[in-house]
Subunit: 172 residues, 2 copies
DNA sequence: ACGGTTGGTTCGATGAACGAACTCTTCTGT
DNA sequence: ACAGAAGAGTTCGTTCATCGAACCAACCGT
């Protein structure tokens, strides 16, 4: 069968990018990985994604070199962003910014801060205080005024992610 | 029916953004609109999208205020980005950059240039020569070394878009 | 008046997503 | 050592979206 994710072989790089991360759930998995989610069950809990779909997406992202499967405690496997996957951080940042701008009546839900410098990370990825481009690992995610505090029913992961924390730092 | 595009009501703005532009084809429609495509038949020709799907997506994007239907020559309608829709330009730029970086063996397919200044527009949206943030309307899309020249079978629109042109400028 | 273009709609077939239940392995507490 | 729980998936029947080809109505140029 022709790959369902193929659009056409258009001469446009965005098409190629969307063939990798353009399917339902895929970018949310990448976002969660940026936020420090690493375990199968945590993705299921936090995203509400059907388990079969998660399995399929993780395999695919590993095959494309966006994620890597690494051994965790015990024999559980965990999923970790590769350098290529970390390259998707601007996509996550820019999409979040657009959503915050147009669909956050109570104000922005997340604010990203340059660790140490304390300056805010602009949509462009640079620090508003020092002007440098802020690497992913030096970015701290903090709740913005529009973030509603998660009710306990949303689970452990949501609660953890509602507190300030450094990106890529594992939630467990 | 519950909206099929709803993920959950997660407290994350990226989810909201993906509920608008996260479905198959939608971002490609926005990209084409940025490139100056405005007519139903041109979207069909350039994207190869099923007509019924295009109809549904255009209606949805109009309802969300991303596109506006404007009268064209004759009584044909055309589709034009609103300010909110033009706010998606960074998403298109950043996704294209990621695709160019990882899936363009022959080099980048598109290079964006600051009109007048002639400096290249970086992934962050700033001009590498003058350092200013380059507005969408002052951006010129030029073919990069990795762009394969479209064969005539790909149609008129592909041919037009393979030549340097200012973004948002209608193709017709 | 008429043939072509534009901008859709309709419809049957196919494929993907959903979600609940099930399996198998590995921890954990006693 | 053993029972139970939790982790990491797999299986499967149902539902929903997408595909693509055909159809249709309005308009346009001649």
């Amino acid at each position: 069968m022709a790959l369902p994710r193929e659009y056409t072989n258009q001469a446009c790089s965005m098409v190629r990018a969307l063939e990798i991360v353009g399917e339902r759930w895929t970018l949310l998995i990448v976002r969660d990985a940026v936020f420090g989610v690493r375990r199968f069950s945590d993705f299921v809990e936090h995203l509400g994604i059907p388990r079969a779909v998660l399995t399929e997406r993780l395999e695919f992202l590993i095959g494309e070199g966006v994620l890597a499967r690494v051994p965790g405690p015990g024999k559980r496997s965990e999923y970790e962003l590769t350098a290529k996957g970390r390259g998707l951080w601007p996509v996550v940042r820019v999409l979040s910014a657009w959503g915050d701008e147009h669909y956050a009546p109570g104000g922005r839900r997340r604010v990203f801060v340059h660790a140490g410098c304390e300056g805010e990370v602009a949509q462009s990825g640079t620090c508003l205080r020092c002007g440098d481009e802020v690497p992913l690992a030096e970015t701290v995610m903090t709740p913005g005024p529009g973030l509603t505090s998660p009710n306990p029913a949303e689970g452990q992961v949501s609660a953890i992610l509602a507190r300030p924390r450094r990106l890529l730092q594992p939630v467990h």
